[in-house]
Structures are given as structure tokens and as C-alpha cells.
């Protein structure tokens, strides 16, 4: 069998037949279904609520980490002062 099936002068469908397949309402329906689905399965990185939550968690963790670090550094400086006094 060849690479192509070449038809010569084959009659094409009539305008009425072509028009029978035309359905704009169906196109809009398919478009809405597809866009609604895309909206419904929006990726997390595009979700503002999710991004806001991640930001809040990050800020809280950062605050905890900074305060812990401050506590540690003040504790070690107190220990150092005591050690120096004992000497």
C-alpha cells in the first residue's frame, strides 16, 4: 500500500450535509465544560488562598526561629558572663 490514498474528482459533501454538522451551541457547551474543569483543577501554585496560607506558615516559622535564636544567644551570653566571673 502506498503512502497516500489519492482520490481524483471525488464528490464532496453537499452544503446541506456540511451545515447539518454545524452546531455552535455544542461548541460553547464543550468550551464551558473545558474551562470550568480547568478552573476546578487550578494548580496549587496559582491558587491565591493556598499561596496566602503558605506565606502565613512561613512567617510564623520565621518568627519562631528568630525568637528561639534570640533566646539561645541571650542564654549563651549569660553563661559566658558567669564563666568569666568564676575565673
Amino acid at each position: 500500500m502506498g503512502k497516500f490514498k489519492i482520490n481524483k474528482n471525488k464528490p464532496r459533501p453537499s452544503d446541506d450535509k456540511i451545515a447539518s454538522h454545524q452546531n455552535f451551541d455544542q461548541l460553547i457547551k464543550s468550551y464551558n465544560q473545558l474551562t470550568d474543569y480547568k478552573k476546578a483543577v487550578k494548580p496549587l501554585y496559582k491558587d491565591k488562598k493556598f499561596l496566602g496560607l503558605v506565606l502565613i506558615i512561613l512567617v510564623v516559622f520565621l518568627a519562631i526561629w528568630i525568637s528561639e535564636n534570640e533566646d539561645n544567644s541571650s542564654e549563651t551570653s549569660l553563661k559566658n558572663q558567669k564563666l568569666e566571673k568564676n575565673r
Binding site: G2, F4, I6, N7, K8, N23, F24, L27
Partner: protein, 188 residues
């Protein structure tokens, strides 16, 4: 299949496109204007009415989805639709691995014959069809667009994703190839 459009027609189309971006219902103007053309374009390449109806729906759906990204490049919107249609047809043949159908009319063969400037032209039609079978898919698509669909080189390039100049160079190379095949056939 003449594709010439006046500036007013192109401007009107741009208004429809702009309106479709905010409300897809305005796409009906484009849909009604081009449905038949796209249907016949696909039918020539598939030879199956139901499949053509299915692929045509896909083309308009894809076009509507990507209308927000559409940029005017000096060609009517139909060029964009033909590009999407070509991709849909290619995708179908890639998936199904079936033999490509090509519908040619006698007038189109004669046009191609004129372009080839052959030494001998008697009983050329059968030889021409056999010669076309020697082309690969990409080459056949260029010939179809340029000579059977009467597209400009700019449109051929845009539809197949190449520059206008590249489309021109490739077309003349394919014509050389066809001319050589046909002349050899006549000598033999």
C-alpha cells in the same frame, strides 16, 4: 478557495476576535463564516465525513480556547484556523497510523502541470498521481496548500510553521523533484 480579504473584512474579524475574548458567544461570527471552509479543508485530507465533523469541532474549540493568545500577523484569521486544522489532521494520522487520504480535482492537477513546465504533457494525469506518491508527508502538505488550496507562500509558511522564504524554497525543490520523476517516466 480564494483567501483574499479586504482591510475592512480583516478589521471586522479583529473586532469579532476582540469580542470573543470577553464573551465566547461572539465567536459565532467566525464559526459561521469559516465552518464550511474548514470542514472541506479537513475532508480533502481525511475523506471521511464523520471524522471530518469531529475534527472540525476540535479545530473551532482549540481556536476558541487559544483566541486570547492570538496575534494578528498580517493574515486573515482563517490562516490561524487552517493551521489548527492541519495540526489536528496530523495528530489524527500520527495517532491512528492510517494511510493519508488526498482528494484532488482535475483542475488542480492541471494547475500543477502548468507549474511544472514539462517537456511532454500528454496523458500526464496518471503519471502525476504516481509521481505525487513519491513525496513525503511534509512535501505533500506543501503541494496541497500551495496548488490545491491556492494559498500564498506566506500562508503556507504560517500554516506549516516555517518562514515564507522557506516555504518558497521548499515548494520549488518539490517541483524540481516532481519534474524529474515525470521526465524520467516519459523517457522510460
Amino acid at each position: 478557495m480564494s483567501n483574499h480579504q479586504t482591510k475592512e473584512e480583516i478589521a471586522r474579524e479583529m473586532e469579532w476576535i476582540q469580542a470573543s475574548r470577553s464573551d465566547p458567544k461572539h465567536f459565532s461570527h467566525i464559526y459561521n463564516k469559516y465552518y464550511r471552509k474548514i470542514f472541506l479543508y479537513i475532508y480533502k485530507r481525511t475523506d471521511n465525513e464523520d471524522l471530518t465533523a469531529d475534527l472540525t469541532s476540535h479545530v473551532f474549540l482549540q481556536a476558541l480556547i487559544s483566541i486570547k493568545k492570538y496575534e494578528f500577523k498580517g493574515l486573515p484569521f482563517s490562516a490561524f484556523l487552517f493551521r489548527v486544522a492541519t495540526n489536528e489532521v496530523n495528530l489524527y494520522y500520527r495517532k491512528t497510523k492510517s494511510v493519508r487520504s488526498i482528494n484532488i480535482e482535475e483542475a488542480e492537477i492541471l494547475e500543477l502541470k502548468e507549474e511544472l513546465h514539462l517537456d511532454k504533457t500528454e496523458n500526464i494525469e496518471d503519471g502525476m498521481l504516481k509521481a505525487l506518491e513519491n513525496l513525503d508527508e511534509k512535501e505533500m502538505q506543501i503541494i496541497e496548500l500551495r496548488f490545491f488550496d491556492q494559498k500564498s507562500f506566506k500562508e503556507v509558511g504560517y500554516i506549516l510553521g516555517m518562514t515564507e522564504n522557506n516555504a518558497k524554497v521548499k515548494t520549488y525543490r518539490i517541483l524540481d523533484k516532481l519534474r524529474e520523476i515525470l521526465n524520467q517516466r516519459f523517457k522510460a
